[in-house]
Amino acid sequence: MSVPVHIESLSKSFGKVHALENISLDIQKGELFGFIGPDGAGKTTLFRILCSLMLADQGEVTINHIDVVKGYKKIRQIIGYMPGRFSLYMDLSVEENLAFYARIFHTSIEENYDIIRDIYEQIAPFKKRRAGDLSGGMKQKLALSCALIHNPALLILDEPTTGVDAVSRKEFWDMLKKMQQTGITILVSTPYMDEAALCDRVALMQSGKLLSMDTPTQIVNDFPGNLLSIKAKGMYPLLHDLDGFEGANSVYRFGETIHLATKMNTNLMEQKLFPFLEGKGYQEIEIIEKQANIEDCFLALMEGKTGS
């Protein structure tokens, strides 16, 4: 079973800080939907409101057409929530944590074992160990098992991969993809831009605002202008030399290359750039036209917002 989520004109402030500003979006049944943004984007606040743990100042949210404020008791039965920080009892064993969550929801591990089997089997050899003594990756698997044990129709995961290494992150996403096959709706938030590509649709968020919302492919297609990936010997001075080059809208480092965004024709740009860089004495110059990735788009959207 899975459910749709409807969010309309949602706002929430803490004193002077606008944690959420007029957010509206719809999530379809069975979607794997990502909220992508840095700390302070409003992801956690949004999830807390969705889970009926916090009241919005304005706007409304329905899950499966049930209002999360008026129908909070029903809502809590159908969602599984894995918060960013706390969800496990460190003094209880692996098995005890799971049994505890099962009983809260009036069910048992046995009754819903099929749902968590794939994930739980990986940590079952350690079921007598205290949760506090598990590695980060194992804690995450246990927390996910606990969020799933009552067979929720909507799974809400708040930054499950923050502080997790690249290998475990990949494993976690493989797990989510597999879980999605069972038909459950999944909402997941992350500060890692590269994880956007793994979602059906994403919302890019920054400082309480929605910068963009679409499929990852469409967001990338909507990148304003063209992108050149540039490499040469001496990357640090290169960044400063490219910054301010005529026709360059933005210049950012991306790993071993520099991405230069431009509104100009890329061939024309290349023809101007080569002699410019050679004139500056650069060697082993490489300029390739490249498709923007989600992080390029996020940077462009951020610049649009600040007006710089």
Binding site: P38, D39, S135, G163, D165, A166, V167, R253, E256, M302
Partner: protein, 245 residues
């Protein structure tokens, strides 16, 4: 580079917790002024090594020289030579920006005048003068991290240790933070940094990758990519982690 240029020398470092070997015969040097990336999966033993290098934890066996000081013999002396910042803890939320500078400057024994000068220098550089009387808890994370980096540099340490300094920081601020790292490195400070962002691994001069308490690879990003026939550092990391399992 020659042996004299090694500001950190680690020889046969072993650290055990009971039967568990967190650091298993580590051998490596870090050169003066370089940006040294220290990577590894969660639980690989990175934090253990960093604690030993910064004088917070003693090795079970082996020799560790940091800025000319044997950390086993003089852990307190090491602390004066290094700066440290992490994502989890760096500055006090209930103090203002200025108070944080004063507090850390005092800990490192700087004069009141020197602290005032340095505070002004860094706040001007970060374009944050107007924030000096603001409580730290009211400052956005990315700015906080840039402040924390400046505070960790207050006493002009030989080496600065950065433990996941950019986790959760927005993509623009993340790049600004690396500008600060380059600047410090250009001025001769050695930067020892951990990160989970693999694009940042490319920004390091050399990268050390740990797995299960051992060093699996140590070289320039370029050489590592050739060695593992990988197109980027993310691939290098995935290949190493998979081979170990």
């Amino acid at each position: 580079m020659s042996q004299q240029d090694a500001i950190i020398q680690v020889k046969d470092l072993v650290k055990k917790f009971g039967d568990f070997v967190a650091n298993d015969h580590l051998n490596f040097d870090v050169y003066r002024g370089e940006i040294f990336g220290f990577l590894g999966a969660n639980g690989a033993g990175k934090t253990t090594t960093m604690k030993i290098l910064s004088g917070l934890s003693r090795p079970t066996s082996g020799k560790v020289i940091v800025a000319g000081i044997d950390v086993n013999l003089h852990p307190e002396k090491v602390k004066r030579k290094i700066g440290y910042m992490s994502q989890l803890f760096s500055l006090y939320n209930d103090l203002t920006v200025k108070e944080n500078f004063r507090f850390y400057g005092g800990i490192y024994g700087l004069s009141a005048k020197k602290i005032r000068e340095q505070t002004r220098y860094y706040l001007e550089k970060l374009d944050m003068i107007s924030f000096e009387n603001m409580l730290l808890k009211n400052i956005p994370l990315g700015w906080k991290q840039k402040l924390a980096f400046s505070v960790a540099n207050l006493h002009h340490p030989d080496i600065i240790f950065l433990d996941e300094p950019t986790g959760g920081v927005d993509p623009i601020t993340r790049r600004q933070f690396w500008e600060l790292i380059y600047e410090a490195s250009n001025q001769g400070t050695t930067v020892f940094v951990t990160t989970h962002y693999m694009d940042e691994a490319e920004y390091c001069e050399r990268v050390c990758i740990m797995s299960e308490g051992k060093i699996e690879a140590l070289d320039t990003p370029k050489a590592l990519k050739e060695q593992f026939q990988a197109k980027n550092m993310n691939d290098v990391f995935l290949k190493i982690a998979r081979n170990v399992e």
